[in-house]
């Protein structure tokens, strides 16, 4: 029987892989995870009564017992937890002792892959990997813990499959090379974290509070005030720890973000998954000319925003931030788009933002400018427009104004064309719906490496057989 070779490559015949397990040390790490919380409970906050009843040793014994129980339960669920790729190329995770659960994750729906090392896992050289898919609950997709090298390898494999590369059953997926775009210096990060309104106020009032405490000794008032003031400072501190050494790198996988001091995290945002972007230049940073870039990435429904990638660049000089934003949208410069301002009567409705309000649209993106204390540039590609809304409050109707909302997936960026003339607003809505439809018809396919849609200015020409290309030495813009 002769085999017919067709011109057009047919659908890839995936072969299922053998099931793999997470690292055996996982149950121990999970048991250790609960220790700090329990110790704090028994010895500092809340459980002192119990400690007094059974004595210190007794309390420690209880903690140890709970840890052993947790380790045993974790071990049982470890034996049941396996993951593999099935015949369709999708990821399957099987778990559960009493309730058997098998989850199927469509790699074509992959939004981003996150490899993170919480402090405890880092000590053991382990990492957790979380593939994020739009519309599914995030918790179940979290694979804890793999050895760090394996985790990165697995991520490469997931992203390769999402891109449509063929990966043989037990061969290593090619690790996409990367080019570092920008790395945030520690001094800049520290300054940016301090230069936030809440932090500055807290820092300014702190010495006042200390002096007041020393002079009046009115501790009933001082202590609660202390806790109120210390909160923004603690938040700033945790932001600093989280974004320490923030590095943005570009690869055929997409944007790679790496950050963190105690917990190291690595997030990948595949191209075309970014739903909307925003460039913010807070007025407090104006003197140094800094800005930040935040994005909406479609992620698991109902999960808190902290887990989903949302900060692409916490702080950088404005030209650098603009360049990174332009990298996320290949071939498009959103700042080139012509914007039209709002009618003069909008001043009655938005006196502070009036000067900055403007919107515009190009062939690929819709752009909105707004904000007063924090000037913002919002960008949404037409292909990522979910729905378009026109709203008009009573006061707006008196002024013949209306607002247009371009809806995107949940995230920090909300695109709104505020206070436009009402006929113009209706026109914008209809035009945006048309553009969105046209853009979807021409949208880049989900498996972006398979169909050879050229990303404008590709850094490295991706060859399907294996990525071998010169990695350019990391240069920051």
């Amino acid at each position: 029987m002769t085999e017919v070779q067709s011109e057009v490559p047919g659908p890839v015949a995936w072969t299922a892989t053998t099931p793999r397990r997470t690292h055996p040390v996982t149950p121990i790490v999970k048991a250790l995870r609960i220790a700090p919380g329990l110790l704090i409970f028994f010895f500092i906050f809340g459980g002192e009564g119990v400690t007094q009843a059974v004595g210190r040793i007794g309390a420690l014994g209880v903690v140890a017992l709970l840890m052993v129980v947790t380790a045993a339960a974790s071990w049982l669920s470890w034996t049941r937890l396996t993951y593999w790729f099935d015949e369709d190329g999708d990821l399957r995770i099987q778990s559960g002792i009493l309730q058997h659960n098998e989850r199927r994750i469509q790699v074509s729906r992959l939004q981003s892959v996150d490899v993170s090392q919480p402090l405890l896992a880092r000590i053991f050289g382990l990492a957790q990997i979380r593939p994020e898919v739009a519309g599914s609950s995030g918790r179940g997709n979290n694979l804890e813990y793999l050895e760090v090298g394996h985790a990165h390898q697995f991520r490469a494999e997931l992203l390769a499959r999402a891109a449509g590369l063929e990966v043989g059953p037990n061969e290593a997926a090619p690790m996409a090379p990367e080019r570092v775009l920008v790395s945030v210096p520690t001094g800049t990060l520290l300054a940016s974290v301090v230069l936030q309104p809440a932090t500055l106020v807290a820092l300014a009032l702190f010495p006042v509070l200390l002096v007041a405490g020393a002079v009046t000794r009115e501790f009933g008032v001082i202590v609660p005030a202390f806790f109120v003031l210390v909160t923004p400072i603690v938040m700033a501190g945790s932001q600093f720890l989280q974004w320490f050494n923030f590095t943005v790198a570009e690869s055929p996988d997409g944007l790679r973000l790496r950050f963190g001091l105690t917990s190291h995290r690595s997030q990948t945002v595949p191209p075309g998954r970014v739903q909307a972007l925003r460039l913010e230049s807070p007025v407090l940073w104006k003197r140094w000319g800094w800005a930040r870039v935040i994005v909406n990435v479609a992620g698991p429904a109902g999960e808190d925003g902290a887990e989903r990638p949302s900060i692409v660049l916490p702080v950088a000089p404005v030209p650098v931030a603009r360049a990174v934003l332009a990298h996320v949208l290949p071939g498009i410069d959103p700042f080139d788009v012509e914007v039209t301002p709002v009618p003069t009567r909008a001043r009655w409705r938005s006196p502070l933002q009036y000067g900055r309000l403007a919107v515009g649209a190009s062939d690929e993106v819709f752009v909105a400018r707004h904000g007063w204390l924090v000037p913002k540039w919002d960008v949404v590609p037409h292909a990522r427009t979910q729905s378009v809304r026109l709203t008009q409050g009573a006061w707006q109707r008196r002024l013949r104004l209306a607002s247009v909302h371009v809806d995107s997936t949940p995230g920090p960026v909300r695109i709104e064309a505020k206070q436009r003339d009402e006929t113009e607003a209706r026109q914008i809505v209809e035009e945006q719906a048309l553009r969105a439809m046209a853009a979807r018809a021409a949208a880049a396919p989900d498996k972006w490496l398979r169909a050879k849609v050229p990303l404008s200015e590709p850094l490295i020409a991706p060859a399907v057989e294996g990525i071998e290309a010169a990695v350019e030495p990391g240069d920051s813009l």
Binding site: S108, R109, Q111, A134, G135, R273, Q275, A298, R384, T385, Q386, S387, V388, R389, L390, T391, Q392, G393, A394, R397, A402, H405, D407, S408, T409, P410, R414, R426, V429, E430, A433, A436, M437, R440, A443, D446
Partner: protein
């Protein structure tokens, strides 16, 4: 719309009868009557101002009087279509159709449709959405 406010009003009246002196009760009852009358009138106007249109490529929904809303949802962006009915809806054989996209802010809700029409609309939308399905 009607349900929660009516329940609250009735609860307020009952509470005032039980706990407040005569003149306060009369005041609460009068206020409740005025409030209910106004709500009925308002809802009547709002219903007349609510509408939907199935266009070639998208669904258009308008609603609101004081605060006007117009939503355009392309068929390809639809993720889910809900048909829901509260107890009062069921009594009058009405239903509410709600369209969900990947955006949480999409507000395409058509209340008060006759149940048969609501189901037909849902099936039509599901078919159109399937046809134009375009991922995220």
């Amino acid at each position: 719309m009607l349900g929660p406010f009516s329940v609250l009003t009735i609860a307020a009246v009952v509470a005032s009868v039980l706990f407040f002196p005569g003149w306060a009760t009369a005041l609460v009852v009068a206020a409740s009557v005025v409030w209910l009358a106004w709500t009925f009138w308002l809802i009547g106007r709002q219903v007349r101002a609510t509408g939907y249109a199935l266009r070639t490529d998208d669904l258009l929904v308008v609603s609101g009087i004081m605060f006007r809303r117009l939503v355009i949802v392309p068929y390809g962006r639809m993720q889910l279509v809900d048909v829901s009915r509260g107890p009062i809806d069921r009594h009058f054989s009405l239903a509410t159709v709600q369209l969900h996209t990947a955006a949480a802010t999409t507000d395409a809700t058509v209340p008060g449709l006759p149940f048969g029409e609501a189901q037909a609309l849902r099936d039509q939308l599901a078919a159109l959405g399937e046809q134009r399905s375009a991922g995220i």
